[in-house]
């Protein structure tokens, strides 16, 4: 998760706030300097407000998980009862487990296939590239509810046909993952390709000049350069999966209710703070993982993969 992007750890890059903007030579120009400072101030304020914007609602979600009231919106005093409720209720725990499995599988499949495809598309003939482009964008454009219905219809007849020839397939976690991967595949390809467009080839060539095997070049040069994009794709994929309702609803089978499906079906009778409690615990776990890994990274202070590759 915190596999640092290629260049982060390079000493020349890991400097203070104004590493790129104001090298010493602009210092003499007072007016410019002032404007730069204004820009600097704006950027920082923007960042602060953005994170505030992102986390104030989350703070409320966590706060309301301690709500004694049955309802998400009404404060009824402090209580831990929803934590107890969530953690003893198999109707909440099982969907959570299903969701985590689906999200993890989806993340791995979409990121792997998407990255491989992105690598291939750059080198593919023009026509193939065009075909892929069409598929990628179509997948993003198709309204979810329509593709969900159509997938269900198609898979159902396909399964029926396969059943006739003796292969018995049913709906369940695999079909949900298949649907999620489709959407996230496009997402990963786009993000990875956005990084590859104009990616530094000199390193790859240097590696090849040094007679490194293609595999070694890939793992030690190409991959680290792509790492931020792959990480971004993986994060987005996991997030999509944890939150999807429509595709999951249509492509699920017996016993594969996901957490968002469960939450949405609670609407009719009111969503309880038990869902807040689950959210809060997941946030806590995520934050712990991040803090620990950051701490490990800082302690290790390891050299960057890119530097390793070029020096070896």
């Amino acid at each position: 998760m915190t596999a640092s992007p290629s260049s982060n750890a390079l000493p020349s890059r890991a400097v203070g706030p104004s590493d790129r903007a104001t090298p010493g030579r602009t210092a003499g120009r007072g007016a410019v300097r002032r404007r730069v400072d204004l820009v600097e101030a704006y950027l920082r304020a923007h960042g602060a407000i953005a994170y505030l914007f992102l986390y104030v609602p989350i703070a409320i979600v966590v706060l309301y998980s301690f709500n004694d009231s049955r309802y998400v919106l009404v404060w009824g005093g402090f209580s831990l009862r929803w934590y107890q409720a969530a953690w003893t209720d198999p109707q909440v725990l099982n969907p959570l487990k299903t969701s985590l499995i689906v999200a993890a599988l989806n993340m791995v499949c979409a990121t792997t296939l998407g990255t491989l495809a992105a690598l291939a598309i750059v080198r593919a003939p023009r026509l193939v590239r065009l075909a892929f482009d069409a598929l990628i964008y179509t997948a993003l454009i198709v309204p979810e509810v329509v593709v969900a219905l159509a997938s269900l219809l198609f898979l159902n007849s396909a399964f029926g046909f396969l059943g006739d020839v003796g292969v018995r397939l049913t709906f369940g976690i695999p079909t949900i993952v298949a649907g999620h991967v489709l959407w996230n595949l496009s997402l990963v390809i786009l993000v990875v390709r956005a990084r590859m467009a104009g990616m530094d080839r000199s390193l790859i060539e240097a590696s090849q000049d040094l007679f490194a095997s293609p595999w070694r070049t890939f793992t030690q040069v190409t991959l680290p350069q792509l790492a931020p994009a792959i990480l971004a794709g993986a994060l987005l994929s996991f997030t999509f999966s944890m939150d999807d309702v429509v595709l999951s609803t249509f492509l699920s089978g017996v016993g594969s209710t996901t957490l968002p499906m469960r939450v949405f079906s609670m609407i009719r009778f009111g969503v309880t703070p038990a869902v807040n409690a689950i959210s809060a615990v997941m946030l806590l776990l995520t934050l712990v993982v991040i803090v620990v890994s950051q701490w490990l990274v800082r302690r290790a202070g390891r050299p960057s993969p890119a530097a390793e590759a070029t020096s070896g």
Binding site: R44, G47, A50, V72, A120, D200, A206, F238, T239, T286
Partner: protein, 305 residues
Amino acid sequence: MTDAATGGPARPPLEAAAGRQRGSSRLVALLALPAAAWYVLMLVAPLVTTVVISAGERGDQGGFVPQFTFSAYAALLDPLYAPVLRTTFILAVGGTVGCFLAAYPLAYLLATRGGRRRTLGLILVVIPFWTSFLIRTYAWVTILSPNGLLNGGLGAVGLPPLDLLNGPVAVYIGILYNYLPLMVFPIYVALERLDPALVEASKDLGASRWATFRQVTWPLTLPGVATGVLLVFVPLTGEWVIPSILGGGKSYYLGTFMANQVTDSRNWPLGSAAAVLLIAVMLIVVAVYLRLVGREGLQREVSLL
């Protein structure tokens, strides 16, 4: 990006180097095959199914009866649906512009000022989305409702209350909140790979900061922006849950319409026809857009090198 490590600013453009790889077409096929298979099975086949449904007719109890008719498409021409298209378009454009304005400075900040913490910063952008969509959108209801936290705060400092819930402001806040990462990530990725040597070079040549941004940073990050715009704009054309929760459900959107046709009204042909038309229109828009943006971005890049 990594010039600092290699010390060599001179780089052959991608196109020239690509020749080396031409021999490995088998590898290319192998790498692309799984994704291609996935697309065929999970996208092309369902799409064909959608087209088949759209040519059918609604059965009396819903679903569809196989036919070969364009009646569903003809039904869509009813002027009844014009306001639906208009509100959807305004929402998608407004939401995309809003997300861009919020995302670019944030991505820029992360990529250029993030230092060691940039990955952490990026992850922090996405973590809120690991809570349930409904729950975090409800949190905004708690904040914005007439008796909510915002008005509580305003009242405490003697300001008049704001009536934001069930209005456009609340809808745009909700959209911004839920779509921000889709815009931040591609822009961040583009900025992150931006070669600082180019920025330096521009400065060395005496270009102002603004000129540097306009002529170097912006064109080079355009592909990232284009990706972000796509990732936000396209799903927004089908969005309807956010307007229904934060906007009071008083507007009708294309997404609601299609979902309604599939479930409530059980008019699959009409829903499918709307989807097929939407897909066609969007593909044309995307193709034109990418052509323009892609060209420009590429030319700039080449000319700079």
